[in-house]
């Protein structure tokens, strides 16, 4: 590891000034769980490191209207937040499974997104939660939808010197839920082989007693979906996002279009899975083979939607029946 200057500015303006002074050779560092690894692997040799950890303006977490999270908030702080756990569950799913507890206590969501690895766990949840990325630069703040923020592997829409200030998500109604499924080879300390997130808003016409009963029990997936169909459970709105199956985290927009406004059934979810699989472009890698990843998109899309509906219909249930999905 070479030597470099290390700065700890206390404001965004100060940080940007330091970056300008470095002539673009500086690197912003938040939790450091990606930057330090790159430096030790000698893949990155910054002129200086500019730490964002002491900047109070990046540390907010506001749930008063919708959700606003500062880029400096750690994964563990997000995972433990009650509102996020109930209203933005996909994000809680993702942040609670990144790395180890030690990593989650220091790694920030801003860092996870700016590193823009195809495997970034928080990317899929932000995509389905319609997040906007707020950036601060010399000429003030601007924001873009998260989908426009990812340009490719490790490439994002930040202009030189800009800092991601945070993420904004709208409020969702009571009939909306979300989930993220991380598919890994190990149970812990692993990057996803792939990840699928879904957000669904359902239209509830009756009281859906049959669905609730089915979800409380240990019926198999087909039987549960049969109840959905019988009780005409309509998917009013939907977002589906997939990670590690393309150069950048992506939405499965065709699949979303095919599901929106229709009654959820096994045949339909099967079809949605197939469409999502046809939208992605997985590769063979040491973490998984392409055919398997594509296959898992089909399976996990179905399961993610099922899990979301379960969360909407049984919001207060903490006990989950032992079952595969």
């Amino acid at each position: 590891m070479g030597s470099f200057e290390y700065y700890k500015p206390e404001s965004i303006a100060e940080a940007m000034a330091l970056m300008e002074e470095s002539g673009g050779k500086g690197v912003y560092i938040a939790g450091g769980t990606d930057v330090m690894v790159l430096i030790r692997q000698r893949k990155l040799s910054p002129g200086c490191l500019i730490s964002l950890r002491n900047i109070g303006d990046l540390a907010y977490l506001d749930t008063s209207s919708g959700l606003a999270i500062g880029s400096g908030v750690t994964h563990n702080a997000i995972a433990k937040n009650d509102i996020i756990q109930t209203k933005y569950t996909a994000l809680a799913d993702a942040t609670s499974k990144v790395g180890s507890l030690q990593i989650r206590n220091i790694a920030t969501m801003g860092g996870n997104i700016c590193n823009a690895a195809p495997s970034a766990d928080t990317a899929c949840p932000l995509l389905v939660l319609d997040a906007r990325v707020v950036m601060a630069g010399k000429n003030g703040e601007r924001s873009v939808p998260i989908d426009e923020f990812f340009l490719g592997p490790n490439r994002v829409a930040l202009r030189p010197g800009e800092i991601v200030k945070g993420f904004e998500m709208p409020a969702f109604n009571e009939r909306t839920g979300s989930a993220y499924i991380k598919h890994t080879r190990r149970q812990a300390m692993d990057l996803p082989m792939l990840g699928v997130a879904a957000r669904v808003t359902i239209r509830i016409d009756g009281d859906q007693i049959g669905c609730r009963d089915a979800l409380c029990g240990i019926e198999n997936i087909s039987d549960i979906l049969k109840r959905f169909e019988d009780e005409k459970l309509v998917c009013e709105d939907v977002r589906i996002a997939m990670g590690v199956v393309a150069p950048r985290p992506m939405r499965a927009k065709k699949a979303e279009g095919a599901l929106k406004g229709r009654v959820i059934s096994e045949v339909l979810l099967q079809e949605i899975g197939e469409i999502a699989a046809s939208e992605c472009q997985p590769r063979d890698s040491i973490r998984g083979e392409a055919w398997y990843r594509r296959d898992m998109v089909k399976v996990l899309t179905k399961r993610a939607i099922l899990r979301v509906v379960d969360r909407i219909i049984r919001p207060d249930d903490t006990i989950w029946p032992e079952r595969l999905w």
Binding site: M1, R42, R185, E289, D295
Partner: protein, 708 residues
């Protein structure tokens, strides 16, 4: 009540507070005055000719004190089991972990920078990464001078007549199984500090698990480097895991020695996590062809195994793992006819080494998977076929192992009971159960000419006891076990025992930490030494108290006469008397214990161990048919352990073994038990480790006639 105060008790590991508080000194923590930092440059290609190697820019970097290449290794020195491995390679590289240059510098940072400044030009050559390809006629030679890619090692065991019994068998199961590279992944990465005094005597600070044998290896190296009649001292720091990885000496150690010699300063060379994966020697992959037969009742008739091991580009002691693979092959269950051949084959892969189980897990995976196949063919329940053929006390196996105690059937029964086998087997609903048994050496293994360990005990004036043992502490708990045994014999508190186990200048000889031998061999050695010192103490006490020796007893640090409780004397007083008397004496005892086991003869027969460990593992799994993921719902490990000296440490060994592959015997049957359970759950058999979701799903799709 057996009247024992320490032995058999759940006593926490003596070094646990040190490790839990971070006070333990690992090789990473060690700093010596004037110490330099070494770093190694590895090859960029698995097989290439080095066209140019220019170190001038590295040597010119301020702070760099030495740069070495293959040209700096004196007398063409090579190390390793077949002496085929130069510490620094020149001319040609044979694997990506080939060391081609090394530097010593004033800091780790400067050393790393210097490595980046070394210019190398390669001519890439086609490599061989598959041992079967390496065995083909006309395959290019990894070591041209050896004329063959197959190592000249005699791995062949034959007993009875396999061909005849194959014809007579009612049922035969035949298949091929493969196992993969597995790294030990020690939490404490490999490393050493090499330091010479003015007389060119070497002190090696190391995390080896074989101090006495490493001492010998380094003496040979010094001789080759032109330093005859020097001393080598091995000082072990706290060892952060071994699992067989530290059963040999490695290039980085010889490089550290050469750098220290050149710079006249201590040189520290510690692996990064990446290097630990890249440049240590994993378990050897195997390709196993197996056939087993039984009669119409399920009684085994023969077992034939042909195995190919990927040796990698160089040879470590790991090339002798077939000798331990023979243990289950000849002696797991009663098999009257056995034939086993194994070939170790050079490839351009990383070279392999011993790993917990020493080959036993690879062999047992094939045997136990195939046994389930045979049971199915014969229409016998998997549990029944294991019970019918289970080993028994009093048996002499084809390799002449004399089985004394053997709780194999009891272990199988316990697994059946605890897994609720009868209700859970054969449901085919995505959940299933599987089982596999194990045999392993349990009372040491005479791999070398000696299987011994020495102990020295001295007691001081205050009744404190120093136990100086040859046996290393690598996390298995030998420090605690030895203290328990000595405390029990001497009747002193366990806190009064100080175990010294990390310095060849002080500690007696020991063959090393391997083969589950430490508790048994080092324990017996300590027991003998403790009895000898007790006799000396009692002798003085008897004279002082004017009582016959056999009337005396010792408890809680006081020696008393059983005839007259008034006649007693504290231990400390006896000890002081030994010194403070005219013509006094030192209270020191030594003992060397070498168990009455036997080396193999040329046909690989001999009672390798004085006791054999048996066990059975069972597992219940759930297979996700859509993703191929296997979830372990329940895992039962039943081991015949004899008398546990410390049940807490023993449980640690079995839990750790279970998770790692799932102690040494503990990991042997894990993979086949799970593979058998997957088969029971969904009807597909995975014959190639590891059992990945992809493999399970692909097999499920093939079974259903679908494409992947």
């Amino acid at each position: 009540m057996d009247g024992l105060k320490f032995v058999g008790k759940r006593i926490p590991k003596k070094d646990a507070p040190l490790k839990a508080t971070g006070e333990a000194i690992y090789i990473q923590d060690l700093k010596l005055p004037g110490m330099l930092h070494g770093k190694i440059l590895y090859s960029k290609y698995p097989h290439a000719r080095i066209l140019k190697l220019d170190t001038s820019r590295a040597a010119a970097l301020p702070g760099v004190k030495a740069v070495l290449t293959g040209a700096d290794v004196p007398n063409n020195f090579k190390f390793g089991f077949m002496k085929d491995n130069p510490p620094l390679k020149s001319g040609k590289v044979l694997s990506t972990r080939d060391e081609i240059a090394a530097v010593a510098a004033i800091s780790q940072e400067v050393a790393e920078e210097a490595i980046d400044l070394i210019d190398v030009e390669y001519e890439e050559l086609p490599g061989i990464f598959d041992p079967l390809e390496a065995m083909q006629e006309g395959a290019s030679l990894i070591h041209e001078e050896l004329k063959s890619n197959v190592l000249k090692l005699p791995w062949k065991f034959v007993h009875g007549d396999v061909e005849a019994s194959r014809k007579d068998s009612a049922f035969i199961a035949e298949d091929s199984f493969t196992t993969q590279w597995v790294t030990h992944c020690c939490l404490g990465t490999s490393g050493c500090v090499a330091s010479f005094d003015v007389g060119n005597n070497l002190t090696m600070y190391s995390n080896t698990q074989i101090p006495s044998l490493a001492q010998n290896d380094f003496l040979e190296a010094l001789k080759a480097f032109g330093l005859k009649n020097r001393r080598v001292r091995i000082v072990q720091t706290t060892i952060g895991g071994g699992f067989g990885s530290k059963l040999d000496t490695y290039a980085y150690e010889y490089i550290a020695i050469l750098l220290a010699l050149k710079t006249r300063r201590p040189v520290k060379l510690v692996f990064s996590r990446e290097e630990e994966f890249l440049a240590t020697s994993p378990r050897q992959p195997t390709i196993t062809k197996i056939s087993q037969g039984c009669d119409k009742d399920g009684k085994l008739t023969f077992r034939e195994i042909e195995m190919v091991l990927d040796n990698g580009a160089y040879t470590s002691w790991g090339a002798t793992t077939p000798s331990v693979m023979m243990v289950p092959i000849s002696s797991l269950y009663k098999v009257p006819n056995v034939k086993y051949t194994a070939k170790c084959v050079y490839t351009n892969n990383t070279y392999s080494q011993a790993f917990r189980g020493y080959g036993n897990p690879q062999a047992t995976f094939a045997i136990e998977s195939c046994l389930d196949q045979l049971a199915e063919k014969a229409g016998v329940d998997p549990v029944e076929i294991r019970r019918i053929n289970a080993n028994e006390p009093g048996e002499v196996t084809p390799q002449n192992f004399r089985i004394t105690s053997c709780g194999m059937k009891e272990c199988i029964d316990e697994v059946v009971k605890r897994l609720d086998w009868k209700n859970k087997c054969g449901r085919g609903d995505g959940r299933g159960v599987g089982m596999a048994s194990l045999i392993h050496v349990g009372g040491a293994a005479r791999v070398y000419k000696s299987d011994g360990c020495g102990t020295i005990i001295k007691v001081d004036d205050n009744g404190k006891v120093d136990v100086i043992t040859g046996s290393s502490e690598i996390g298995q708990g030998s420090d605690t076990i030895i203290a328990q045994i000595v405390a029990e014999v001497l009747g002193v508190s366990i806190d009064d025992i100080n175990v010294i186990n990390n310095d060849t200048d002080v500690c007696p000889w020991d063959v090393g930490v391997h083969a589950s031998r430490t508790t048994f061999v080092a324990g017996n050695s300590a027991l003998g030494a403790a009895q000898k010192i007790k006799a000396q103490i009692m002798d003085i006490a008897a004279k002082t108290l004017s009582e016959p020796v056999d009337a005396l007893d010792m408890k809680d640090g006081v020696i008393f006469s059983r005839n007259d409780k008034e006649k007693n004397i504290p231990l400390g007083k006896v000890l002081r008397k030994a010194h403070y008397t005219l013509g006094g004496r030192m209270l020191v005892a030594e003992n060397f214990y070498d168990p009455p086991n036997e080396n193999f003869d040329q046909t690989f027969r001999g009672n390798l161990s004085v006791a054999y460990a048996y066990g059975a593992h069972g597992v219940e799994v759930e297979v996700d048919r859509e993703t191929g993921q296997v979830k372990i719902l329940n895992y039962v490990a039943a081991h015949d352990v004899g008398k546990a000296i410390n049940p807490m440490l023993l449980e640690g060994q079995i839990y750790g073994g279970g998770l790692q592959g799932i102690g040494e015997p503990g990991l042997v049957p894990t993979a086949p038990a799970i593979a058998n359970a997957v088969y029971d759950a969904v009807g597909v058999r995975i014959k190639d480790l590891p059992i990945t979701p992809e493999k399970v799903l692909r097999a499920l799709k093939e079974k259903a006639g679908q494409k992947t």
